[in-house]
Structure formats: C-alpha cells, structure tokens
Subunit: 333 residues, 2 copies
C-alpha cells in the first residue's frame, strides 16, 4: 500500500544514504597529510553537486562550532563529522541533499524527504551518485560491491531509513516486541539524533542493517514493506489506545499542550516528551495544528538552533528559557 | 493601617458571626418535639431579617440535599446544619447575611464581606442582632454574657474571622511558625471549608478563639491587628519568594495556568493547588485576571455547584470532567 504524503502521521521523513570511497585512498580514519588527494575528492563532490542543485560547501575546520552543531540538529551532517581531519560537507540549498566528505567513508551522500517517500529520496541521491562517479574513481569490487570502511556497509553501500512517530506502540507497551520483531527483519531502531540518542518524543529512526549482497532496489523494497507494517501497527495501536485510555489520554495530551503553551523553562527532554503528546493530540484532532509545524519545532528548539535564534551562546539554563519562549511563540501562531 | 479593598491580595473575605440562644429553650442538641416553640424562633428570625433585607427562608428538611450542599459551598450554612432537627436558614438575597437556626446554637447569624472589612461585617450583623433581639428573648447573663451551647462562645458570643491567601508563607516554609505565633495570640487556623478541611490553595481561615469577657469591639480590634500582621508577613514573604525563587516560581505558576486552561479532568484537590499558584501569578502580574474572578472559581467549582450547573447529579469522575470544563471556560474569558 502506498500511503504517500498521507503517511506523515507515522512517518516523519525518509532518508537514503550512500557510502562511497575513492579507489587507492586510505579510509578517512587512516588518512595522512596528502592534501592534494583530498582536494581532488572535495572538488569532485562540489562540482558534481553544483551540476545538480545550488549548494553550499563547508570545510568543517572553517565553520563556527555553533553552526556545525546546527547542521547536526538539522540532520545535514553527523556529529561524528565535526572534528574529523579534512572533513567537509556540501549541502543543497533546498535542504534535502547533503554530501559529507571524510566522515567514516570518503563520501556519505544522503537525501531526506518528508513523510514516507523512500523512492524520491533514492532517485535524488542516485543522480548525485552518478554525477560524482563521473568525476571520482570509486572503490568498487565486482564481487563485494562498493568497499566501505565498515564491512556492514559493503555491497550497495546504501542505507534506507525512516523516522517513525510511534506513540501508541509506546503507550500500549507494544514497542519492545515490535522493535525486536523488526530487528529480526534486519531493521535497527535509533533515537531522533542517531546512534546512542534515546527515543524521545515517541520518535524512532528505523534503518536497514547490513544487507551484504542485496541490491539498492531490494533494500528499498524491504524498507517500504517494513514502513508499511510499522504504519499499520501504529495505527491499530492508536485505535486501541483511544478506546482503552480515552479521557486519560486526552487529559494527558491537553495538559502537555497547556504546559508547552505557558512554561517559562523547558529542558530538551521534557520538551520532546510533551511535544510527543501534543503531536498525538494533533493526529487525534484534539488540537489544531499542521503536523509539519509540530515536527519543525523539534529542530528549531535544539541547542545550537536556539543559540542562532538568540544571536549568542547560551548556557543550559538560558537554553531552557529560550526553548520555552520559542515554543510559546510558535504554538501561539 | 487600613488596607480596605486593597487588602484582597491577602484577605479574601471577612466574616463576623454571632451565636444566640433563646432563654428557657434547651440547646439544639437537646431539643425534643415541642414544635410551637421552634415556630416562634423561626418566625422571629424571619421577621427580623425581612425588616432588614429581602431574604429566602428554608427549613432544612424541605430542601433538596444538593441545594443544601451548594449553600455549604457558598459559606451560607455549615455542613453541620444539614440533618439537624428543626434546622433552618434565612439567607439575604444579597448573599452577605445568613442566619442559621438550630445549628449548635438556636441562632447563628453571620455576615461575610469581601476583602478585609470586619467593621462592615460587624455593623451589618449587629443590625440583624438588634432586630432579632426585639422579637426573641435571648439567653443572657449579666455576668457571663450570651449563653451558648459551647462555653468557648460565651460572652460576646461573637467570632470574627477572615480568609487569608498565604502562598508565600507556605512556599517559604514560614507558615507553621506564623500559625503557631497566631495561636498564641488566640487565633485558630482552618481550611477554606471550616474545621477539619485541610488548607488547600494556600487558603487559611483565621478566627478568634475563646475570648470570654472580651467585648465585641475588643474582639474586632484584636482581629484587625492580627489581619494587619498577617498581611504584612505575607507581603514580605512574597518579596523574598520572588527574589529567591524567581524564574522557578514563575515557571510553576505558568505551568499551573497552562494545565488549568487545558486539562480535561481536574480533581478538587489538584484544582485548588493549581488555582493557588494562578492566583499568586495574578497578584505578581504574570497573568491578567481579576482576583475576585479567581476567588469565585473556587466556589463555582465545588461539587454541588457543578451538579447544579450541569443540571444533574454527577459522580466523582464526572465532576472532575465538569470542573475542568468550567475552569477552561471561565479562564478563557
């Protein structure tokens, strides 16, 4: 079943990421000071990307740390990229495509699309990949496929993932059994901000694990089936939850909303929890907002984004105040 | 110092209550079936009151229990009056004066005024007392004064009290030392709904204990001095509280407000606690409401008042829902 844009009550965004490396060049962890080669790599990426879409290219050691952090918060780079040697990123101004250079692999190219739309994300990133491969000599083995720093990425060198909002599975205590079933299907769950970040606000990033030997199309098909299952499960759980918890749930949702509308201080963790309930309230038609606006709030209320907005570095307590202010303003609209 | 109406940030209302008994008639607890005498008592009260102000007279065994309960919630009768034999009440339509018949004493006449205004309450109830004494033969002893069922009321047979809102004394942990100091000055503290009701929403009803031999004026003067002390103490504590708790306090207040504005269910106890914070927020200019409207919310959200408003008997859970609905509506205005 193709939910398309109608899937955004469960799937926030879809992402396809390719890992590519340059033949004959040591993997980034083993890079030594042969600057010329990195220049070729960077230039190749920059030219390929600019052929496709207007971009901004940043060498990581040139960027303000706060700005780098805001790129992490916008899911445009990984935290790991910051501080790596010769690391850089090329970002489409449209915000959907970014190519990291010298993260774990020489090239990590990703496209993120709203809701469940792995096909579009795949098509877009394939165009980038083609443009890059025309300029760069990929490390590719006819038997093993694309060679990558971590063997789990070998083969298609592709990871497909989607961000899922699973409040009902959490609140009906079904999430663990669903996640372990997914694991058996080769799907890993992470929090909103990648490996190690807990699942906050009922959000889970689900991605394919190692699929050595699988083609891009197989990975894509697999993840679309997974998404379909997850969407069905969550929606059924929502129906059950509303039947079972009814007024208690609505009360919890409306109180969460009331607190977000009026609090003077909000920690990141509390904010994510309350917003998770409010988002569920929007889905259940208790509260009138656009889902996209609720999702955007998560990004703009991250630490570095708050500092950018306030135009200065903020301590933890100041961020909690700035976050509460921003949330009050945004929800008042 | 005379705060007058400006005292209502601390003193919600002032009350003067007189206890009177009829000479030769057994105290209510010992009444037996001599109906004629009670008719004389009731008629005397009714005529005296109607001379002063338009009234409604109710024999307690005639009233709907829910309506009786709503009179308790409006502080017009004591809970104790309901179910007593030959009990009745005459209530001024203006809502400030009520005379209970055959509660602990044959007559308990009270006047409640908003804010700190013991003088007006006293003047009004003295007029009622005079009109009654012209028709009824009070039990009065030249040495002991008015005779009452409980010896602690003997003498002037008068109790002066005021309802105080003391959030800062509570939140700075000073309330217990203040209350024990008041006790040494002959002042008893109770909750909003009299003896045995806990202090909810930072509200304390402070009244004079036994003052045998003291005149009405002495009692009045004493309680006005007490009120003055309490007002000063609370206001100083507020200043300290804002300095010390600043943003944490404001956050707690605004969250309480957010919950009251949006909750779907509110127990009586939680409501009182949250409203206490909101009232403090109004006083501190964080929230824009009239204090009187906040105080009125306490009465209209009581169980029987909620049933009256919804036009039917409500179970505990239904009341919590009706209370939340009412509070949302009232605070939205």
């Amino acid at each position: 079943m193709d939910y398309g844009a109608k899937s955004n009550d469960v799937v926030v965004s879809s992402r396809v990421r390719l890992a590519r490396n340059i033949a004959g060049l040591p993997f980034p962890d083993k890079l030594s000071g042969e600057e010329e080669i990195y220049s070729v790599l960077m230039l190749g990426v920059e030219q390929a990307m600019s052929e496709i879409t207007p971009c901004d290219f940043y060498k990581m050691h040139d960027i303000d740390p706060l700005y780098a952090q805001s790129l992490v918060e916008n899911h445009l780079i990984s935290k790991d990229l910051i501080g790596r040697q010769y690391s850089a990123v090329d970002i489409a101004r449209s915000g959907d495509i970014s190519v990291m250079i010298n993260e774990e692999d020489h090239i990590r190219a990703q496209c993120i699309m709203p809701a469940l739309d792995l096909d579009s994300a795949f098509e877009k990133i394939v165009r980038v990949d083609k443009a890059m491969s025309a300029r760069l000599d990929y490390a590719f083995d006819p038997k093993y496929g694309y060679l990558t720093a971590c063997p789990t990425n070998m083969g298609a060198g592709m990871r497909a993932s989607f961000m899922a909002f699973l409040p009902a599975l959490v609140l009906t205590d079904s999430i663990n059994s669903v996640l372990s079933a997914l694991q058996q299907l080769g799907v890993t769950a992470r929090g909103v901000y990648g490996e190690g970040s807990g699942a906050q606000g009922f959000m889970y990033q689900l991605s394919n694990q190692a699929m050595i030997g699988a083609s891009e199309e197989e990975i894509l098909t697999r993840m679309k089936i997974i998404a379909d299952k997850v969407i069905r499960n969550e929606r059924i759980a929502r129906g059950n939850l509303v039947k079972a918890a009814g007024l208690d749930l609505k009360d919890k949702i409306m109180r969460s909303y009331g607190i977000l509308r009026h609090a003077v201080k909000l920690s990141s963790q509390e904010f994510m929890e309350l917003l998770g309930y409010v988002k569920l309230g929007v889905i259940l038609d208790y509260i009138d907002y656009k889902l996209e606006d609720i999702d955007k709030l998560i990004t703009v209320s991250q630490p570095a984004m708050l500092c950018k907005r306030e135009g200065k570095k903020l301590g933890a307590q100041e961020r909690d105040i700035a976050r509460a202010k921003l949330v009050r303003q945004q929800l008042a609209n």
